[in-house]
């Protein structure tokens, strides 16, 4: 792992105003989809992002891809700012793989057109030049060359996901953001696709941001893991640190939900009570307090991300005073 971050996210925010009324739009609240998220991504690593639905992971993906502009904060790819109006040359460096293999491919295009689309957008290449790029990639993702003239509906979910992966690889990006890429697949196929991700990473030197709600999958693929809740980072650590010593109550609850292969093992499942609070009226202070089994009075003040170990930070008042995560960033002059 390099020490140069290829992606820097600093205090990124994405707020959506909620308005009512047709003539006079009254602002009745704000959805803070991403609320003050900061982290660095280093070349060659896989950062797993985990959280429940509505925690902001998809919005974060959109911000990183420059599909939407941040309401605050900054995102930089190799030093250059990431924005919806960023140059095409930057866009080819980050690609995305989507969750639903059934809707992420245009049903009216054959596989060749789908996979070649990034080439059509970014370059003008002859047929042979395109083939030179596309054919080896088809092999790498495990699809036969004959698949190129078929249509998406002729393939299974797992195969369609491979098509999506092929499309993402065609411009030879550095960074690939994977938004729940295996959630829609059968468990047996999931393993195959995850293995594909791993082998591609090795062959092509890729860096991944891997988003999922499934702790088991995240554990399998990630080097580092970031836990999100209602748009904020709850905990961020290396895989080993997180699984060895999760400090945030939310992370602990997520861990306890992973099915364990030994049925005789004691069930120490932490069941969270209550529902996710409405994102429009997020409570002041720690977003998790309404469901936290260890909530205190103090939690009405928002806890900062504090260091609890090497590269391990958690945002919870239960954590001993340590250096704040954000302070480290600010001190590095970024």
């Amino acid at each position: 792992m390099d020490n140069n971050p290829i992606l820097e996210v600093k205090e990124a925010r994405k707020y959506y105003p909620v308005t009512k009324g047709f003539i006079s739009r009254r602002n009745i609240g704000t959805v803070k989809a991403v609320d003050n998220v900061s982290f660095n991504l280093y070349k060659g690593e896989t950062l797993g992002v985990i959280g429940e639905s509505g925690c902001g992971k998809s919005t974060l993906a959109k911000l990183i891809l420059g599909l939407t502009a941040p309401s605050g904060g900054e995102i930089r790819l190799n030093g250059e700012p990431v924005r919806p109006d960023m140059p095409l040359s930057m866009r080819r460096n980050i690609q995305m793989i989507f969750q639903d293999p059934y809707s992420s491919l245009d049903p009216r295009m054959d596989v060749r057109r789908i996979v070649e689309e990034p080439l059509r957008v970014h370059e003008r290449l002859s047929k042979e030049e395109k083939n030179r790029i596309v054919l080896p990639i088809m092999e790498q993702v495990g699809l036969p060359a004959g698949a190129l003239h078929k249509f998406p509906h002729e393939f299974s979910g797992g195969q369609r996901q491979r098509i999506g992966i092929a499309r993402a690889l065609v411009l030879n990006p550095e960074l690939i953001v994977c938004d729940e890429p295996v959630s829609a697949l059968d468990v047996s196929i999931q393993a195959q696709v995850l293995n594909l991700f791993a082998s591609l990473k090795k062959i092509r030197g890729l860096t991944y941001i891997f988003i999922s709600h499934d702790m088991g999958v995240i554990k399998h693929v990630s080097d580092r893991i970031m836990v999100m809740y209602l748009g904020q980072v709850m905990e961020i650590a290396s895989k080993r640190s997180l699984f060895g010593d999760a400090r945030h109550p939310y992370t602990q609850a997520l861990m306890s939900a992973i099915p364990k292969p030994n049925p005789a093992a004691k069930k120490s499942r932490i069941v969270l009570e209550g529902d996710l609070p409405s994102p429009i009226h997020a409570p002041a202070g720690c977003p998790f307090q309404s469901r936290c089994p260890q909530a205190m009075e103090k939690c009405q003040i928002k806890p900062e991300l504090k260091q609890v170990g090497e590269g391990h930070y958690a945002a919870c008042h239960l954590v001993n005073e340590g250096v704040s995560h954000d302070e480290i960033y600010r001190s590095k002059g970024m």
Binding site: R92, S104, R108, E117, P118
Partner: protein
């Protein structure tokens, strides 16, 4: 694509009918204003085996069969051209409405809905009063009455497609809005649009016939199926075939096209079932 035998039969019969009628000026070149007063009111061969005329003659002695072909030809051409007009206009409005949203959408949707609430015959009547009754007017009437349906369909398709994941993924690759529109949105609208156009073709034929019947469409000596029925209305007692035969043909055409259109819709886009 597997076509059930009945639909195939319909397609073939319609194809033959359409082709032969299109070729009428070549196969049976006549002057439509010719009259043959000695041969008036001759019955069809079915009822008078000695009749020279397969379908009889009308009040001016003209061969009903041959006029039928010319009439079908004109009816089909007008309905088709009107459909093209409606499709183009509906496509433009629907795309503008769906892509832009906001005020544009509100205004255009309002116009679309308003137009839908005016009976089509009245639009025809107004246009005929103002612009005179001829082929062009009828085509315009069909275009004007037909476009709201298309616009609605296109609009809802565009709105759905805008949010489709594959559109988002194209955007993430960096595709421009224009490229996305032509490569993704248009290609995905094409098939429901074609189905809808086919299904509506029959109602356009109907509209033309109705307008011509009341005298506000094509004027003699040009003839369409509606004109022929109108001619025959006054002679129902002595030569009922004048009115009945073109009527049967109208029903036949509408039936064929409707059934083919229904099948096409079920085959290609079952979701459209609720929009008709």
């Amino acid at each position: 694509m597997k076509i059930p035998p009945f639909i195939l039969f319909l397609m073939i019969t319609f194809g033959i009918l359409a082709t032969v009628s299109m070729l009428a000026p070549v196969l049976f070149p006549i002057d439509l204003s010719d009259t043959e007063l000695t041969a008036r009111f001759k019955p069809p061969r079915l009822f008078d085996p000695e009749s020279d005329f397969l379908f009889g003659t009308d009040s001016l002695g003209r061969d009903v069969g041959i006029r039928l072909l010319y009439a079908t030809r004109t009816s089909l051409i007008i309905a088709f051209l009107g459909m093209v007009l409606a499709t183009i206009f509906g496509l433009i409005v629907g795309v503008l409405s769906g892509l832009n949203g906001g005020v544009t959408d509100h205004v255009l949707s309002f116009i679309t809905d308003t137009q839908l609430s005016v009976p089509t015959t009245f639009i025809g009547i107004i246009c005929a009063t103002m612009m005179g009754s001829d082929a062009l007017t009828v085509i315009i009437v069909i275009g004007v009455t037909g476009w709201p349906g298309f616009a609605r369909l296109v609009r809802s398709q565009v709105i759905q497609l805008k949010e489709a994941k594959f559109v988002e993924s194209s955007r993430s690759i960096g595709a421009s809005k224009t490229r996305i529109f032509f490569e993704h949105i248009l290609t995905n609208i094409a098939s429901p649009l074609i189905v809808y156009a086919t299904m509506n073709l029959s109602s356009f034929i109907l509209l033309e016939s109705a307008l011509s019947y009341i005298g506000l469409g094509i004027q003699p000596p040009e003839t369409t199926l509606g004109v022929m029925v109108s001619d025959g209305r006054n002679y129902l007692l002595q030569s009922w075939w004048m009115a009945v035969i073109p009527s049967v043909l109208i029903v036949l055409l509408i039936l064929q096209i409707s059934l083919i259109g229904d099948w096409l819709r079920d085959k290609l886009d079952p979701k459209l079932k609720n929009k008709t």
